[in-house]
Structures are given as structure tokens and as C-alpha cells.
Symmetry: C2
């Protein structure tokens, strides 16, 4: 109830700045805490294996819109976005806890649908739901998931291990989830203007699925990497946009990077849709976010290990920090890359 | 977006019924998951030691009222209520993650105050903040904390280990936090009716502190138990009210219990305040909740180990399930105990 003398708006710092600012004064006290804030997940040393922990919250009206989000998909997505963080450490997710706060406008049947999605994700990814709580909220739905994974000591991959000369790789394609969101938002507006209109989503199924029901790259971490005997030097999952994640790797590792536009895959349907929306496809791919693909670096001598992996793209190289983070466009130009992640706090 | 045919109100099932209902179809798949839903915390086997995980969410307007809750206290409490769950497993909390969703009516300075309380709790209890996220919310403040602890394989204590003949013990006193809430609510009403009125809180400092800034029983788990070489047979922390927690132990262990009113300590100031409010002090103690004391059972042969511990009360005995869960009043009557926990979903 104390008086506030100074009032700084949360927007002024931005999401990452805010977390850095708030958590800067928390020293690590326990020997078992191997890694705290600042990577995809925290790491706890339990003797034999390492425990990896990640937590993420989805908020109605901020991260999802109930008008076009089926609850089953929402439950699935809330789990997947957390598992993606565990995979980004090259660890295997094992358990999750789920905390839900919801207003009484949600029925038990609605909650069942949500848990149905959570269960489907648990089954597909082989994780156990081990706890959580359900409480009421004055307004809206909040889902906070904590994922717990297991990793081997010599195989965990952080953001800070990229070295000059390393090859930059990414999985899958980019921009589709963002374009899926654009089309859902457009259809919502059309529907609100005229509830009788029939939504035209035929050409957009792939993008809508990427937005509403994303998948984490279990295949790379549990199959392709171990089969090839590969341990990336650094890795991050792409939740906030490819460019923004590349900046995280570069800042943590103290390096620069050159990203090849040629190596950034965009789904043909997404490209079509972007153009239809008057958006630049590569901008959607670089800044769109919510792709949940993996961005990682490998040593030059590991090139042969990655070259023939399915659904992988070699998309650049790590360069000295002084040279910055740059984009080499298809047209042959080189210019500084812009990092534009999700800005939840900006209205 | 599917049609809802049946609509069951969340209130119909109650908080525990709801969680049971929603999580009943989640089989455990990983060998490392030693204990899932249904105790104070989940347990993961990491080889040498066990990892214990608990998560809890505090919601503005449901669990706290910003009119009388200083943000620093709120941050402290959000951590403590989770640590209490870890201690209730006879484990030591080591790390926490904190997820916050908040509306833009909160400033950075307000968040700093909140984190100040989180840090104070981390320092006092020796835990590390290792992750979490901060996101915006359309309305209100949500704090979800996950606590991670470490326990030894032969020393972890569950709810289900109570046996007939065991002695029932509890730490500290009960009902104060509930009465603290009553006085804060009363003063809020008086203030709203007439903002010029000066709050009269002199006699209620202790109860208000128990409500706004509770403590977890680190002393028992980290000092008294190991010093006495004691491992309780079952244990739970009292968040929902002493009676409700006793029912949890009895249901999980398949036993009954007789609770001695004489063994339930009530602070003299709390007793005074209850009477002033026309409330029955023992009802406040049994059903009030938020005391964060420990309720546990010990083997009869361990009586000497607990008898001289500080701030401990022998409060009954475990009896066969058929005999039920009963209260032996100071007046010498024996009657069935009523379990009345917090009913967040009831309006």
C-alpha cells in the first residue's frame, strides 16, 4: 500500500529487458543449480543426469483468442511450446505440471476438451502429467505449463556455445504460424461483421494448423541427432521469430552471424498467402514467430552429419561479433538483420 | 469451436473433484516418474536423489486483494506456499520458477516490489530463482510458482503412510491466517465506506502477518526432524484447513483419525479476535486454512523423538478407517469431523 513515487511503464523495457531487469539481483546459492535464467530452460544437476526445466504461460486475449481456438488445440499447444524449450536444450521432456486459472464461464466439458488436448500431447511426446492446480479467475483463461526433462551431461546444448566458423542450421520452414494467425484474425473480423459469411480457409489449412496445433522437433533430438552422433554447439527453439532467436544465440555466444535468405525455407502456400496479404514472405519468416522449429549451430567438421538429415536447412555461418548479425538476401545484398520478436507489452 | 451439448458447472465438482476428474485419464509412462498427482508434490527419480516438484497459482481477486496486499508480501507468499508443499514431502526446496501475467496498470516499480518479496523468500529459504516468464494479462495479476526440491530416497514422506496407532502431530497454531483475512476484509469495507477512517489493527498484527506473510516450516524439515532422527510416516502442509488436510491423510492412507481439540493450538490473540467477530475459535482453527503448518503422523515408538520438539503439538491418533475421522472436543464429546477447505469455485 506504499506510495509510488516513480512510475515506469512496463512497455518501456520490453519483455526481455523486463525479465533481465527483475531477475538481475538473484544470485545462485545451490550447487545443484547448473544454469538459471537466460536459456531455453534451467538446468539442475542431480548427480547422474541433468534435469531441465522450462515454464511458459498462455493468456486468453494475449496469446490466444477463444473465437477461433478450439480448446483441445489450446491444451495441446500449451504443452508443446514448453516441450519445445526442453528439446532446444537437446534434452528429452519427461514430465509436465499444468496450472489453470479460469473464469466460471468455462464449463467442466470445456475443461475436459482442454485436458483432452493436454493428454494427446502427453501421449505423442511421451511425457507424464505430474501435477498442477486449477483455480478460478475473475476473467479469462490462463494456462501455465512447466516441463521437466532429462539430459546427459556431455550432450546438453546451450545458447552460448556457437563459435566463429560454425555452420548455422534450422529445421523446417518459417512464417506459416504467423500467416495462420493473420488469416484467423481476418476471418474473425469478417465473421464479426457478418456472422452469416462462410469462412474461406481452404487454401490456408496448413498455416492454420501450424498456428493452432504446433509441433516440437522431437524427431531431431530423439532420432536424427543421436543417430548421426551429432551434438550441436548451440541451439534455441524459434518461438519469437527466427531473427530474434539468432540474436539470442549471437549475444549469448559473443559472436555475429550471416543468415542466408536462401537457407530460410518458406512453405509455398505460405508464400502465396503472404503475397495475397501484401506482406513480404521473408519478413514473415524472419519475424513471425511461433514456428517452434530449431535453430542451431554445428562445427564445420560436422557438416557431413547434417547435410543429409531430413527437413534440415543450412542457413548461414557464425562470424566474429564485430561483423554483426547480417542477412544475405537472394538478390545478393548484405544488410543488418532486424530482430523483431513478439512485443506482448506493446499495445 | 464445437457445439457444447452438456454444460456442467465447475462448482458442481469442487476443486479436488475437478482435478481428480480431469487428470484421471493420464497414465504414467516414464520410469523416472515416481509419484504423479495426488500428494503435496510430484516425485521424480534422478538416480541418486529424488526431485520433488510442486506448483501453485495466486490470482488477484481470488487469492489476494490488492487493496490490502503489499506487493512485496505477495511475492514472498507466492514463493512460501510452494516451498511449504516441498517441506511437506520432507524434502528441501532448491529452485523455483516464477510465471507472472499482469495488466498494464502495474508499473515496473510495482513489479520490482513483487520481485523484492520473491528475492527475500529465496534468500531466507535458500532457493534459487531459475526461470519463468512475464507476460501481459487483459486484467489483474497472476503469479504461478513452481518449486523444485531434493529429497533422500528413504526419507521422503507421502500422505499415504499413516498406520493405525500412529500419533498425530502438528506444528504451530491454527486459525490466525484466516482471522487475519477477516480483519483485513472488515477494514477494507470500513475504508470503502469512509476513506477518512483510521484502521484499527493494533491488536491484530500477528494475525495479519500470518495472512499476508506466511512462513513454511523449514525448521522442522531441515533441523528438528534430522536432529531427532525422525521420519514421519505421513505428512501434509495445512493450506486448506486442518480438518480438510487430515481427511487427505486419512483417505490416502486408508485410515481414520481422532483429533483432540486440546492438541490444536490457537494463538490467544486469535481466540480473542474470533470471539469479537462472533466466530467459534476452534472452527476457525479447523477450517480456516492458509496456516502453512505441518500435519504429520509418527510411529508410537517415535513418541520420545517428538515430545520435546519446540512448537509441536500431539493432537490425536490414527484409528481404523471404519471408525471414521472424529473430533474429541474439550468438553469431552466425540463427533464426526467436518472437512471444509477453501471453496474457490463457490461464489
Amino acid at each position: 500500500m506504499g506510495q509510488e513515487i516513480k512510475r515506469t511503464d512496463v512497455n518501456e523495457l520490453g519483455e526481455f529487458g523486463l525479465i533481465r531487469h527483475l531477475t538481475s539481483k538473484f544470485p545462485i546459492k545451490n550447487a545443484s543449480t547448473k544454469k538459471g535464467i537466460g536459456d531455453d530452460a534451467a538446468v539442475i544437476d542431480n548427480g547422474d543426469k541433468l534435469t531441465v526445466i522450462s515454464t511458459d504461460t498462455l493468456v486468453e486475449g494475449i496469446h490466444f483468442d477463444m473465437v477461433y481456438t478450439p480448446l483441445k488445440h489450446l491444451g495441446y499447444k500449451a504443452v508443446v511450446v514448453n516441450l519445445s524449450d526442453i528439446y532446444a536444450m537437446n534434452a528429452k521432456p519427461r514430465q509436465i505440471t499444468v496450472s489453470i486459472a479460469l473464469s466460471n464461464r468455462y464449463s467442466v466439458e470445456a475443461l475436459e476438451e482442454l485436458y483432452d488436448g493436454i493428454r494427446t500431447a502427453c501421449e505423442w511426446y511421451g511425457v507424464d502429467l505430474i501435477g498442477g492446480d486449477t483455480t478460478s479467475s475473475p476473467k479469462g483463461l490462463y494456462i501455465s505449463v512447466t516441463a521437466i526433462g532429462q539430459g546427459e551431461k556431455d550432450k546438453l546444448v546451450y545458447r552460448d556455445g556457437a563459435n566463429v566458423g560454425d555452420i548455422l542450421c534450422c529445421t523446417g520452414n518459417f512464417g506459416s504460424a504467423y500467416l495462420g494467425l493473420q488469416i484467423l484474425e481476418r476471418e474473425k473480423q469478417l465473421y464479426l461483421d457478418n456472422p452469416k459469411i462462410k469462412p474461406d480457409l481452404e487454401d490456408a489449412q496448413y498455416m492454420i494448423e501450424r498456428q493452432l496445433k504446433p509441433e516440437a522437433r522431437k524427431d531431431f533430438v530423439e532420432q536424427f541427432f543421436p543417430k548421426a552422433g551429432l551434438v550441436p554447439t548451440s541451439m534455441i527453439d524459434v518461438s519469437d521469430g527466427l531473427a530474434s532467436e539468432l540474436f539470442h544465440i549471437c549475444t549469448s555466444s559473443g559472436v555475429g552471424a550471416i543468415l542466408e535468405e536462401n537457407g530460410v525455407s518458406i512453405h509455398p502456400k505460405a508464400e502465396e498467402l503472404a503475397i495475397k496479404f501484401n506482406l513480404d514472405p521473408i519478413t514473415c519468416a524472419l519475424s513471425g514467430g511461433e514456428d517452434y522449429e530449431l535453430l542451431f549451430t554445428v562445427k564445420p567438421e560436422d557438416l557431413e552429419k547434417v547435410r543429409y538429415m531430413p527437413d534440415i536447412y543450412l542457413c548461414g555461418e557464425i562470424i566474429p561479433a564485430e561483423e554483426g548479425v547480417k542477412l544475405h538476401t537472394k538478390g545478393g545484398n548484405i544488410h543488418p538483420l532486424q530482430a523483431q520478436g513478439w512485443q506482448h507489452f506493446q499495445s
